[in-house]
Every structure is written in C-alpha cells, then in structure tokens.
C-alpha cells in the first residue's frame, strides 16, 4: 500500500480521480475550469474599470481561487511527502528526442535546464517561461477554457465546441513540438 502511494500513479487511477474531482465540483454547483482564475485575477486587480471583459462579479468565482490555493498546497505535499519529485521514466524515443534538443535525460520532475530563473533570458528560457505562458493565458480565454474546462468538462458533457477547442490544442501543440522546439537551441 505504501509503495503504491509513493510510486508514480498509473494513468487509469489518475484519470478516474480527475473525473471524480470534476463530478464533485458539479455536485457542489460549480464547473471544473482552472483558467477562469486568470480572468478573476485580472478583475480583482481592478482591470474591470477600463476593460469591460473584466467588469463582472468576480467574487462569485472566488471558490475557484480557493481551489487553486489547494492545488498549490497539493503540489507541495505531493512533492515533499509523497515522493512526487521522481524523474518520469520516458520511452527510448522520447529520450532520443531530448538529446536532439540538447536536454539531459530527466534528473527530476521538471527539466532544470528550463524551469530556472537562470535561463529566463536565454532564447529557450524566454520562449518557454514568458512567451509560452502568455500564449496559454491568451489562447485559453479566446477559446473559453483550457484542458480542464474543454478537454475534461466539455468533452464529458458532449459539447461540440469543446471538441473544436481540443482539436486546436493538439494542432498548436503538434506544430510547436515538432517544428518550433527544434529551433529553440539555447
């Protein structure tokens, strides 16, 4: 039992648990969609006075900020107490790909050569941390949701706009993975 908890969890338990979280939120009268928090933060910072899109009753969505606070705590707990910082065991093909990108095989949960302030002003660091983050925030609001809102909630509710969004997610992701990443040498 102990080992099961401390080893990485298999895909089927993880997928089931994610669905349970989504269903639990529905039973509490809420919808699972994480990226709405970015809009809420913009509204809470007072952007609503100048930009109509952020002029809404953001306090009614503050439950989602609590959920985000929990996610942050959960990340801390899993990493420090449940052995969550183990490097992922990748396939041989994925390892060869890392080598082509000039990255080491996983030493930890995330590539240290990317997620570190040291690399913020390298081409790769800037593209990942700043440009990547910006595009996630911009795209998710334009599409009206992220992986949780569209791929999980929307598809589970058989909403066709979510299928379009997920097709977009993969179109953008595949082009970036295969054609943009190789250009981001250093």
């Amino acid at each position: 039992m102990n080992n099961l908890l401390f080893e990485p969890w298999p895909w089927y338990t993880s997928g089931l648990l994610i669905a349970l979280i989504m269903l639990l939120l529905i039973l509490w009268g809420k919808t699972f969609g994480f990226s709405s928090n970015f809009r809420t933060v913009c509204a809470a910072c007072g952007l609503g006075s100048r930009i109509p899109f952020f002029n809404f009753e953001w306090k009614s969505t503050s439950w989602n900020l609590l959920f985000a606070l929990g996610a942050l705590i959960g990340g801390y707990l899993a990493t420090h107490f449940l052995g969550g910082n183990k490097p992922p065991q990748l396939s041989a093909g994925a390892l060869a790909d890392l080598d082509r990108l000039g990255l080491l095989a996983p030493q930890s949960f995330q590539p240290e050569e990317i997620f570190n302030f040291k690399y913020l002003f390298t081409l790769r660091g800037f593209f990942v941390l700043v440009v990547g983050g910006f595009l996630v925030g911009f795209g998710t609001r334009w599409a009206g949701g992220c992986t949780s809102g569209h791929a999980i909630s929307g598809l589970s509710n058989l909403q066709w706009p979510s299928l379009l969004a997920v097709i977009g997610f993969f179109a953008g992701g595949l082009v970036t993975t295969w054609f943009i990443w190789p250009l981001l040498g250093f």
């Binding site: 997928g15 509490w28 606070l69 929990g70 595009l135 795209g139 598809l155 997610f169």
Partner: protein, 149 residues
C-alpha cells in the same frame, strides 16, 4: 472541540471543501506526472500512451458520471452546473484560440492548473509563467472585440 465547532460552521466548510478538492487535484497532477513538462512532450511526440490514457479515462468516466447526475438529480443548482454553461456559439474562437493555447501548452509543458501545482512543488520560475499567462488573459480582454469568435 473548538476545531469541531469551526468545521461544523457552514461557512468554514464551504471554504475548506474547495481547498481540499484543490489539494487532491494538485496531488493527482504530481503523482500522475501530468504536470511534468516531460510527459506533455512525450504525449505530443506520440511516444507514450500515458497522457492519452489519463485524459481518455477522465473523459470516459466523466461522460458516465455526468449522464448519471443528469438522470438522477433534480436540484436546480446541480442542473445548472451540469449544463456547464452551454458553450458560446462560434467556430473561430475554439479553433484559433485553441491552437494558440496548444502552442503555449507545448512550450511550457503545463496547462493553467499544473502551472500553479508546479509553483507549489517549489519551481519558483513557474511564477514567471503564471504572471505571463495573466498578462495574456489581460491582453485578450483588451483586443477581444477585434478578434473573430
């Protein structure tokens, strides 16, 4: 005893339950490794079934769960949430917005949830990603009316 009384007070529970759900979500994201840049890259390379398995299982279980809730519940609030605010009409917003999101997803290896989860795990540089995402959302709000939806 004091703790029991605090937990019993309804308002406190309303706050705590969302934090608790978030904690479980954060733990799942780390323990499933769905929050790892490596796993997202592996998914887009079609080098592993792992992420497809996670999303596929979640959607399959979600479809069954939502169907059951729709059938069995008649509480107004739940019905409203199950409606999941019928998505707005349009094609471009989903395809183009989704594509932009996908580019960002493959760069950062993190969607919005995992960004926050990783920050919690101790990747302080994720703060940059989160701030950039908030800036991206603000920028969308500014130019919203000029974009096709």
């Amino acid at each position: 005893m004091a703790i029991v009384r605090i937990l019993n007070s309804k308002k406190m529970f309303k706050t705590l339950k969302f934090i608790l759900a978030g904690i479980v979500f954060g733990i799942i994201m780390i323990k499933s490794q769905a929050a790892s840049w490596y796993r997202i890259r592996e998914m887009f390379l079609f080098e592993s079934f792992h992420m497809f398995g996670i999303i596929g299982t979640a959607v399959a279980a979600g479809i069954i769960g939502i169907y059951l809730i729709k059938k069995c519940s008649d509480r107004e609030k739940i019905k409203e949430a199950v409606g999941l605010k019928p998505k707005e009409h349009g094609i471009w917003r989903y395809l183009l917005g989704g594509t932009i999101f996908g580019i960002g997803w493959a760069l950062t290896g993190a969607c919005p949830g995992p960004m926050v989860v990783n920050f919690g795990s101790g990747y302080a540089a994720m703060a940059v990603v989160i701030l950039a995402a908030i800036a991206g959302t603000a920028f969308y709000g500014i130019i919203k009316n000029k974009l096709p939806h």
